[in-house]
Amino acid sequence: MTNAQLETLHIISKSPSHQQLYSDMLSTTLDKDAILLTQNAVYALSSNQIIALAKPNIPVYALTIDVQAHGLSMASAAPVTFISDEQFVELCCLYKKTLSWF
């Protein structure tokens, strides 16, 4: 059904104060994985956490609606792609699986 060449989309939803969670997630990411910030995880955009999240070859995405809902600007100290809910669905198709962290 799918020719997904990309591997795991890590979906994180807790705020960056949950450092162990972020650390666990990062330690399991490999090339061809990606990270999606949703819900409270969008706060990582305005914390030092975003630098730690920026591993080469591992794109970081953030759900635009969640970013706006939390009053954050669509800017970040490290490369982040802001995506719509539709694009979230598309990412789930492109990646072989999702792995949620919360």
Partner: protein
Amino acid sequence: MNKNLLLIFRHPPFSGSNNRDTLDIALACSAFDIPVSLVFLNDGILQLHKNQESHLLQQKSLINNLNALAMYDIEDYYVLEDSLADYQITTQDLSLNCKVINGEQLALLIRTFNTVINL
């Protein structure tokens, strides 16, 4: 579709229903012939610690359920090396016979599953 399932345990015992809920998923999926593997990280390794006396907290222990996993064809268990070191625990202290893996091996292990649940 050939599915396999990796379940991740990150919570200590008696701290909410996450571990019990994850274990219940393991049993149900195994009953549907989905190969199930378990991995214990960080506080999750504490769930395996021998000598728990849950009755002192009026809590049900999951140790018996964990020990019965083999009867349900669930015999593939992993524990993270760094977590054992952090808690100064050895495999002798654990009630399940787990393979010890490092972080990189965990990342590669995750790659081999098409479904991962991490409550």
